[in-house]
């Protein structure tokens, strides 16, 4: 007997399912890597680099040498406060000297005057020239003196990528070339200077350099990357990365559902052939080896096609997103996505199909003479279940590289996989138990769903899992987008007014009120440096947190507030209560962590020649992403009332009020106006781009789900044809046949839509709260969407099926 006859039935079905699995993994890994890289790159522009080291001392050459060895680009800048004389009046400025490589990420923007067209600049000022910010716009085009050197103020600096980080410390900016700094004579021993060394390069090289830095960093030096330098971006990026991980896993669940469905179907179809071969004396072991070889060849072919398909999907994505992003998605040069995809394909195929084939090879040879039920032994049942669990777990670990997270997701998937068939089966039984006497049509449809030979419950469970995955992606996407949009609505303040004198506060508030300009409550600002913690001098404390030593030289802005500010939440202790203690600090939780502060710690702050001391009575979490005034330290009023202070407030100044700004500045010349709209626009653009990426995954999942649907339709096709021919033989009309097939799928759609919505709601809550740390909102539209989409998709599928099936000749019933 020639084993060649034992080819896998529906080979193409399993092949397509495996191609999809490999393709999805390849594509999602490539796409998420590239999108993640782009988002990081875009966000890095706000840092003007991928990595920054800060210090109050000049850097040794070793960092630059080490960075260049790693293949990184290097740039440096020096910042200090100084004064320029304008009309013989001194003006305090924030001077920044940059080299030719600056900025490493992002671009400088400049214009000749405030209202003129802006243009990009590839690098900063040339030797002998300076660029000035809008506060000094009146002297652009003139000469000015910095220290001992004269310069020409040739441009207005309209955008500086990394300026936003020092939002409250702004005197007007003067940008110059670093080669001119020495000639100015401004940097002398004792000068308060900040040195920045900036690096940019490939992700892997940056990561490697960061590891080297962690060992070689000196005291007083601080490393900044995107996440710790720009907290307003941190959550958005973190959430986006988590969402990508979740979307990949869920999309893969869809693909593996396809393999499981087709494996079961293929094994059932192979059973008669296997019985025949065994009757002719071919052993079970020989058969299994043969099928193993077949699967191996299938895997190789599917991997090649799947990898090519996954690689090819980058191009439509690139075409679609390049226009929106305005630049090319960065390339990923790594074999890892392809190797991961091949491995995942192998594990999924082996895990889901081998046990079914093993069971099929145990088909009794007696089957050739009469139908004998091949009852699955408990050990074989255990093997099948265990194999599927191990396969899913291994795949998750490969993709997510976190076994804890893999276990959590595995748990959810398994719970669905086990619970769904039970729930659906009970639901069908419940609907069947009816006092209705008629069998046709409803009872007939329900009996079709219940018939184990059709495997309809398993197909419904598989499709439910698919719909749950899609709904979960949609739920989380909506929650994330909602949260981001809530943080960046169109009407949040776009200007900060800072350096307001105490006497001018009321006048400025009235000025804004008269013009119906929305403004925040004014905040008093006392600039202080930390001198002691619990009686120990700050420079003698060894902080365990790597950024703790930053506080030695950091200047804090302390404010007071009667009430807890919006979007601040007390996480320890209780809000400032003057009745309890007149001297209190409320500390932001990140700062508390860096300095190792707990409730009851005594902080001593120096304000000029004065000191103030109070204990920490509460620790707050702060939503930094809202672009509103937020503070590390808040005191009670009495503590800082007598301290030298300025005030700040934020305002939403629309275009029609821009002309009033000149009047405001003329009336209150001490006020500095900080336009943060540009910064907000750039952050919003990054969030918008992340949203596009999320929606891409949504479409990807939908496409994968449609393949699963096709696979599900194929399963049971033969049985449907036999049933149709029986009904024809019994005298059913075409319209009756049409209705039975379409309504069967519609009924499946109703059941699937209902349960998928229920489970997706519960899972959406759990994932939002515990995984993304965002609020979950019940969505009635989710239920409507689930029911309508499931019914619509499956009804259309039913129409497709019925058109092919009801034309089957009734002779089939005699031949089957």
């Amino acid at each position: 007997m020639n084993l060649k006859n034992a080819t896998i039935h529906s080979y193409w079905l399993m092949f397509i399912a495996t191609v999809i699995t490999v393709g999805i993994v390849t594509s999602s890994q490539l796409v998420t890597n590239r999108i993640s890289l782009l988002l990081d790159r875009q966000a890095s522009e706000l840092l003007a680099a991928d990595l920054v080291i800060l210090s109050s001392k000049k850097f040794d050459a070793e960092y630059q040498a080490a960075a260049r060895e790693q293949g990184l680009q290097v740039s440096q800048s020096v910042s200090l406060r100084t004064a320029v004389f304008i009309d013989d009046e001194p003006q305090l400025v924030e001077l920044k000297a940059v080299d030719a490589a600056y900025p490493l990420r992002g671009k400088l923007e400049r214009a000749h005057e405030v209202t003129a067209q802006r243009s990009y600049a590839e690098q900063g000022p040339s030797v002998g020239e300076v660029w000035l910010d809008s506060k000094l716009a009146s002297i652009v085009g003139q000469d000015l003196t910095l220290g001992e050197q004269a310069f020409t103020a040739s441009w207005l600096l309209t955008y500086e990528p990394d300026r936003g980080g020092a939002i409250f410390n702004l005197a007007p900016r003067v940008l110059m070339n670093i080669e001119d700094l020495a000639q100015t004579g401004l940097v002398v021993p004792g000068s308060r200077v900040r040195y920045r060394l900036m690096f940019a390069g490939d992700q892997a090289d940056i990561a490697s350099f960061k590891t080297w830095l962690a060992i070689n960093l000196k005291p007083g030096e601080e490393v900044q990357d995107l996440e710790n330098a720009r907290p307003e971006m941190r959550r958005a990026l973190e959430s986006t990365r988590k969402f990508f991980a979740l979307a990949i896993v869920l999309t893969l669940v869809i693909a593996m559902a396809a393999i499981a469905i087709t494996a079961r179907y293929t094994a059932n179809r192979e059973a008669p052939k296997i019985a025949m071969l065994r009757a002719f004396g071919i052993s079970q072991l020989s058969l299994f080896k043969h099928y193993l070889g077949q699967l191996g060849r299938l895997w190789i072919a599917a991997t090649i096609v799947g990898v090519i398909l996954g690689w090819a999907t980058q191009f439509p994505l690139q075409w679609a997103l390049d226009g929106w992003f305005g630049k090319t998605l960065p390339q990923v040069y790594s074999l890892r996505p392809y190797l991961s995809a091949a491995l995942v394909g192998l594990i999924a195929l082996a895990g889901f199909s081998l046990p079914y084939l093993l069971n099929a090879t145990a088909t009794p040879p007696m089957q050739v003479l009469r139908t004998v039920v091949n009852r699955r032994s408990w050990s074989r049942g255990l093997l099948m279940t265990g194999s599927a669990i191990i396969a899913v777990f291994c795949v998750l670990v490969i993709l997510m590289q976190s076994s804890l997270l893999a276990i959590a997701v595995l748990g959810i998937v398994l719970a669905c996989a086990f619970i769904l068939p039970l729930i659906l089966g009970w639901m069908v039984k419940l609907l069947l138990v009816s006092s209705r006497r008629r069998f046709w049509l409803r009872q007939y449809l329900l009996s079709r769903l219940q018939a184990s030979s059709r495997g309809a419950i398993y197909v419904m469970s598989g499709f439910s899992l698919v719909l749950i995955a899609i709904l979960l992606i949609a739920v989380v996407k909506d929650e994330l987008m909602g949260e981001w949009q809530a943080q960046l609505p169109d009407d949040i303040p776009n200007y900060f007014l800072i350096n307001i004198r105490s006497d001018d506060v009321a006048g400025i508030e009235e000025f804004l009120r008269q013009r119906q300009i929305e403004a925040s409550t004014p905040y008093a600002l006392v600039r202080a440096r930390m001198s002691q913690i619990n009686g120990v001098d700050i420079d003698k404390i060894r902080f365990s947190h790597p950024r703790g030593s930053h506080s030695v030289t950091h200047t804090f802005n302390i404010t007071y507030a009667d009430e807890l500010p919006e979007q601040n939440k007390i996480v320890a202790g209780s809000w400032l209560d003057e009745n309890r203690d007149p001297m209190q600090f409320s500390v932001e939780e990140g700062m508390a962590e860096r300095l190792g502060l707990t409730l009851g710690d005594q902080l001593m702050m120096t304000v000029g020649s004065k000191t103030l001391q109070a204990s920490v009575t509460s620790i707050r979490s702060v939503l930094w992403e809202n672009f509103k005034p937020n503070f590390y330290l808040i005191a009670n009023k009495e503590l800082i009332a007598d301290m030298p202070q300025t005030w700040l407030l934020s305002a939403l100044i629309k275009d029609r009020h821009k002309a009033d700004l000149k009047q405001l500045l003329q009336r209150y010349p001490s006020v500095t106006l900080l336009d943060i709209s540009e910064l907000m626009a750039r952050v919003k653009a990054i969030v918008d781009k992340a949203t596009v990426a999320l929606q891409f995954f949504f479409l990807f999942a939908l496409a994968a789900a449609s393949i699963v649907l096709l696979a599900a339709i194929q399963t049971g096709r033969h049985e449907r044809e036999v049933e149709s021919s029986l009904l024809r033989a019994l005298g059913a009309h075409t319209s009756q046949l049409y209705r039975v097939h379409v309504l069967e799928f519609t009924l499946m759609g109703v059941l699937i839509g209902f349960f998928a919505a229920a489970i997706a709601s519960i899972a959406g809550w759990a994932v939002s709260v515990y995984f993304f740390d965002i609020e979950y909102h019940f969505s009635a539209s989710l239920w409507a969407y689930s029911l309508v989409s499931a019914c619509l998709v499956l009804t259309l599928a039913g129409i497709m099926v019925s058109r092919r099936v009801y034309n089957v000749s009734p002779m089939k019933i005699l031949r089957s």
């Binding site: 006497r437 049933e723 024809r728 019994l730």
Partner: protein, 226 residues
């Protein structure tokens, strides 16, 4: 004899099918009449064309040549939908593999053809039919849980429930052991005698051949004895 007086009439009927090796004649020049209330048993070896002949007579398939009349209708002039209408409520079937609706109980299976033809009191008629085959106690048992003999009895009940004019049986005892097969055959012929239904039965068993009013032997697509 005029076709209107005959239950079934075949005039020089042939059936040819396309195969990879070319055209294959399954039936050759078959002419045959079946009177109302007659019991005709067709016997032939495997591949003799008896199942194909049954299918043509029942309107489940169309001949390649010749004419087939069922209940006075020339099936050659009818499309699939029209042939279905001819069968509804008037033609019953008993199959070798029973072909019951799995997942439904015995009563529901018997009700199916009655409801398809919009017969009133389908449930009552079905219960009566089940009584006639001795399965009233198992009316609400899922057919998956019935033995082979019981399933075939349900199939017989289903076939007779509509009080058909003609019943087509394709190897009705083929999947049963000898004893059960005899019981099924007895039941079928008993009900047929009671109702006066025309019976066309295809078999390869000699015992069943002798129970018909007329015996037809087939070989290689031709009638040997009629």
């Amino acid at each position: 004899m005029a076709e209107n007086n005959l239950c079934i009439a075949l005039h020089q009927v042939g059936k040819t099918v396309d195969t990879p090796d070319g055209e294959l004649d399954i039936l050759n020049n078959i002419s045959l009449d079946v009177k109302y209330q007659e019991a005709v048993v067709i016997k032939g070896a495997s591949g003799s064309g008896k199942t194909t002949l049954l299918g043509l007579m029942a309107g489940l398939d169309q001949s390649t040549s010749g004419e087939v009349f069922l209940l006075g209708h020339n099936l050659a002039e009818k499309n699939e939908e029209q042939r279905s209408s001819i069968r509804a409520g008037k033609v019953g079937f008993v199959f070798q593999s029973f072909h019951l609706v799995q997942g439904a109980n015995a009563l529901q299976n018997v009700m199916l053809p009655l409801e398809l033809s919009a017969t009133d009191n389908a449930s009552k008629l079905a219960e009566t039919s089940l009584q006639q085959v001795g399965l009233e106690a198992k009316a609400h048992t899922l057919v998956d849980h019935l033995s082979g003999g019981e399933q075939q009895r349900v199939a017989i009940a289903r076939a007779f429930a509509t009080r058909p004019v003609v019943l087509f049986a394709d190897e009705p005892t083929g999947n049963l052991d000898a004893a059960t097969g005899r019981q099924i055959a007895d039941l079928m012929f008993h009900l047929r005698d009671q109702s006066g239904t025309t019976l066309v039965l295809v078999t390869h068993e000699e015992e069943l051949l002798e129970r018909g009013d007329r015996q037809i032997l087939m070989e290689s697509g031709r009638l040997l004895v009629n």
